[in-house]
C-alpha cells in the first residue's frame, strides 16, 4: 500500500468511475418511465480509493485542493473515467467534471484530454466539460482561452450547479455554456415553492436567450420532475430516474434506447 493518501489516489486503479444519465423528458414523463426515456448524455463521476476518506468526491477534491494537487487529480480523474466511459454502449455524449482553476492553470489540459480520449476511442465531440468551482479562477483570461480551445476541438461546456456558489451570472456570461445545469437546491421542492419555480423559469429564459439548454440537477421524485418540465426544462438528472452507478450496471440500462434529439448548436 502507498504511504501517502495522494499516492494511493494517483496509483493505477486508485480512482473509479460511476455514471449517471441525463434524460430527455417531455411534460408527461414520470420517474417510472426511466427505462424508456431517451438519454441525452451520461455524466461520468469519480470516486476515490474504496474504504478511504476520499472515496467521497467532496472530500477527495477538498483534499486535492489542500494538497495543491487539484490539477494533477483532475487529470487523473478524467483519465480514469474516460477509460471506463469508452465501454459505454451506444457511444453516448459523456460529461466530465473539471475545475475552472485547472483550466486556468493547466494550459495543456485540453490537449491531455484529447490524447486520452483518442487513445480510448472516444471522439472529442462526444465530450462535455462540466465546469465546477469553489473559487473563481484568478487567471480569467487563461480560463476563457482554455474554454475556447475546448470548443474549437468540438467539445461542449456545461456550467455546473448554476445558481449556487460561483456558478453565478458572471460565470454564465464568461463561460457561455452550452448547458446550464441548475443546482438541486432550486429543483428539489420547486413543485410546492413558487419562488424556486420562478428561479427555474428564469434560468430557462436566460439559457434560451444565450443559446443554451437547461439541465435540472437533483430530481428526487415525480414532483421535482413535474416542476422541472412545467418550468420548461427538458433535460433532467437525478435519483428519481437513475442514481450514479458502476459501468456494469449502467451498460444494460443504456442499451436499446431511443436516440436523443440533436443538441442545440453551441453559442457563438
Amino acid at each position: 500500500m502507498s504511504d501517502s493518501l495522494l499516492e494511493r489516489i494517483l496509483e493505477p486503479g486508485g480512482l473509479r468511475a460511476v455514471f449517471q444519465p441525463i434524460f430527455e423528458v417531455g411534460v408527461k414523463a414520470r420517474a417510472a418511465d426511466a427505462a424508456r426515456l431517451p438519454i441525452h448524455a451520461v455524466e461520468c463521476l469519480v470516486r476515490g480509493p474504496a474504504g478511504t476518506n476520499v472515496e467521497s468526491p467532496d472530500v477527495l477534491f477538498e483534499y486535492a485542493r489542500r494538497k495543491r494537487a487539484e490539477g494533477t487529480v483532475d487529470r487523473a480523474c478524467a483519465a480514469a473515467v474516460l477509460q471506463e466511459a469508452a465501454h459505454l454502449p451506444g457511444e453516448p455524449r459523456v460529461c466530465l467534471n473539471v475545475h475552472a482553476s485547472t483550466l486556468a492553470r493547466d494550459h495543456e489540459f485540453g490537449v491531455f484530454i484529447g490524447d486520452v480520449a483518442s487513445s480510448r476511442g472516444v471522439s472529442i465531440d462526444r465530450i462535455t466539460f462540466e465546469i465546477v468551482e469553489h473559487t473563481l479562477p484568478g487567471d480569467a483570461p487563461s480560463f476563457l482561452n482554455a474554454l475556447a480551445g475546448l470548443r474549437a476541438v468540438g467539445a461542449s461546456i456545461t456550467l455546473d450547479h448554476v445558481g449556487s456558489g460561483h456558478s453565478n451570472y458572471r460565470m454564465m456570461l464568461e463561460c457561455r455554456p452550452n448547458y446550464f445545469k441548475v443546482d438541486d437546491h432550486f429543483v428539489h421542492g420547486a413543485h410546492t415553492d413558487f419562488a424556486r419555480e420562478a428561479v427555474l423559469e428564469s434560468v430557462v429564459r436566460l439559457a434560451s436567450r444565450l443559446g443554451g439548454r437547461v439541465i435540472a440537477l437533483g430530481v428526487e421524485d415525480d414532483a421535482d420532475l413535474v416542476a422541472a418540465t412545467r418550468a420548461g426544462i427538458d433535460l433532467v438528472q437525478g435519483r428519481a430516474l437513475c442514481g450514479a452507478v458502476e459501468l456494469e450496471r449502467i451498460a444494460p440500462f443504456l442499451e436499446g434506447r431511443p436516440a436523443p434529439q440533436a443538441s442545440e448548436p453551441p453559442p457563438a
Binding site: 493518501l5 476518506n53 476520499v54 467521497s56 472530500v59 477527495l60 477538498e62 483534499y63 489542500r66
Partner: protein, 125 residues
C-alpha cells in the same frame, strides 16, 4: 445521532487501535493521517470531538496546532484534545490559546482517553 469522533495521527497502528476501541464504545469514528486529510473531512463532516497528535510527521513538526485552527473554523462547537509525547508548558499554552479543550501527554491508557472524551462530549448517544 451517534457522537462522531475524528482521530488524527500519522501512525496507522495507533489509528487502528483507537478506531476499534472507540467504535466498540459506540462512537462513530473517522481517522486521518495528514493535516490536509483532516481539514478535508472537517469541511464536510460535523464532529463532536477531534483528537489529534501534535506531531504528524517524522520531523519536529507541530501540525496538531494547525488542526486546532481548522476545527475552530469549521466545527466551532467541537471539543478538541491534543495528544503529544513531546509536550512542554509553552506548547500546551499555545494549544489552549488556539482553542484546545484538553492537552494530554502520551502514553495514556485507553480508558483514560475515553473518560476525557466522555467528559467533553457527554455520554455516547
Amino acid at each position: 445521532m451517534t457522537s462522531r469522533l475524528l482521530i488524527v495521527d500519522d501512525e496507522e497502528a495507533i489509528l487502528f487501535a483507537l478506531r476499534e476501541y472507540f467504535t466498540t464504545l459506540g462512537y462513530d469514528v473517522d481517522c486521518a493521517r495528514e493535516v490536509e486529510e483532516a481539514e478535508a473531512l472537517l469541511s464536510h463532516v460535523q464532529y463532536q470531538v477531534v483528537m489529534a497528535d501534535l506531531r504528524l510527521t517524522k520531523s519536529h513538526g507541530a501540525e496538531g496546532l494547525e488542526i486546532i485552527g481548522a476545527v475552530r473554523e469549521r466545527c466551532p462547537w467541537a471539543r478538541i484534545i491534543l495528544l503529544t509525547a513531546y509536550g512542554s508548558a509553552e506548547v500546551e499554552a499555545e494549544a489552549r490559546r488556539r482553542g484546545a479543550d484538553a492537552f494530554l501527554y502520551k502514553p495514556k491508557p485507553l480508558a483514560e482517553l475515553a473518560r476525557v472524551i466522555g467528559e467533553l462530549a457527554g455520554p455516547v448517544r
